[in-house]
Amino acid sequence: MPELPEVESVRRGLQAADLRAPVIEVWRSAYKLRVGKSWAEENLACLKDNVPKDIRRRGKYIVWEFAGPGGETNGLVIHLGMSGRCGVTTAAQPKVTHTHFALRMADEREVRLVDPRRFGGLRAGPLHELLASEPLGTLGPEPLDRGFGGAVLAERLGSSRRPIRDALLDQEAVAGLGNIYAVEALFAAGIFPMVEAQRLHASAWERLAGTIVTVLQRGIDNGGTTLKDFRNVEGEVGRNQDDLRVYGRADEPCPRCGAKLVGFVSGGRSGAYCPRCQPRPRTRLVR
């Protein structure tokens, strides 16, 4: 599933397309997309005749602002799911298979969502309502925002008994982090991924907050991680998969010390760690 850097790469691509012409048509396929209460009412028709404004990101969601014809501020939330791809094309281009959504602009350009596995989601409506309701309303702090740090992490996860890797995936604790970047951040911080979150000392939380920022920023700089499906707005794959230190590299050498990396599975998600750089802690508190 695209994590923060992949979604940010898509957001930047859409922003760079400089879409300013009003929406003249909203097209939606007959297929259902993401299921769940938050996505039950897509309400996409409200975007007709709206003028596109800023495109932001919140966690793993794209939040596109629109100026409605009556002066209201609307929004469109896009979740890319497992295989969703956003692209900008001309309206004359035929829709490829698995296209499920298209916003046609007055300048004859179209923003389209192609999603073969249909785990992606769309939801439109008044912007303030979208921001206040699920899924956006319950998201935790943005790790790339000013003010994010060890104290924020400790406050939200410091009493959890879950393994720290699993706890980091909680979107209400920190927004946008997924399995790949959590595993990478723990390696960079030298923290054993299976240690209970509540055993981390303030210094470990601080270190971890710093490495979360580092690995996310690296992911963005590399245009995201493409393990299988991810493509940016231009249809290009990311480069970060070549820069992953431990994720997907079980049994290969650690790039820091050369020891053999160890694979693990927790909560149904796999990862890897270095037994020397991330030793299983022997003391109650992990510093």
Binding site: T214, D242, D243, E252, P253, P255, R256, G258, A259
Partner: protein, 204 residues
């Protein structure tokens, strides 16, 4: 059968190239040995280039990642150190380009000013055998030397670092930077002349 210990002496350490071939053929311990041998030298080179400890550590990991990824294509055509430092230098060049693209600091900022995360001078120009009576002045001297090195032009600084800090031969450095050996020697000479000028007030 030959006994390597028959003279009571430990076996000769394997060359870098032999270790890399072993690693290519599946010996994971050989890679650990290579990391242990070159980690510090590469780190110091990277640190002096990017001026940021955590970034240097990141790049160091990237050097070894590239070695791992390329191991199946490795052939013993050149010294391993040449290859390692070529990778490290290319990463530094990329980093420098990115930094120029992103730079937003004031023009008044010193060209390569040290920040809190900058290299510890002791790691790059330290000597273990400084007499006690000279130790008090040592930090100041190291700081001046490090600053003078930072002010060298890029092409001279990398040659100076690879030669003086990492102990590479002029031929190896030439292979790494893609310049004839004589050009490398000239850069080294210019670097030394500039350092002498910059440090003339020190009685070194």
């Amino acid at each position: 059968m030959d006994d390597p210990h028959r003279n009571g002496r430990p076996p000769e350490p394997r060359s870098d190239e032999a270790l890399m071939l072993s690693f290519r053929d599946g010996d994971a311990r050989a890679f650990e040995e290579l990391v242990a041998r070159h980690r510090r030298g590469l780190f110091n080179f990277l640190l002096r280039s990017v001026q940021n400890r955590s970034r240097a550590e990141e790049l160091l990991q990237e050097v070894f990642l590239r070695v791992v990824r390329s191991k199946d294509r490795y052939e013993r055509t050149a010294k391993l150190t040449t290859w390692l430092y070529t990778i490290a230098r290319n990463l530094c060049v990329d980093e420098s380009r990115r930094a120029k693209f992103r730079r937003t600091t004031s023009l008044d900022t010193p060209r390569r000013g040290a920040d809190d995360e900058g290299p510890a001078m002791v790691e790059t120009v330290a000597a273990d055998d400084v007499p006690t009576d000279e130790r008090a002045a040592a930090p100041q001297i190291r700081q001046r030397i490090a600053r003078a090195i930072d002010l060298l032009p890029e092409d001279q600084r990398e040659v100076f670092l690879m030669r003086q800090i990492n102990g590479l031969s002029f031929k190896e450095i030439g292979d790494i930077v893609g310049a004839p050996e004589n050009t490398v020697k000239s850069r080294m000479r210019y670097a030394l002349e500039k350092l002498r000028q910059d440090l003339a007030d020190f009685n070194l």
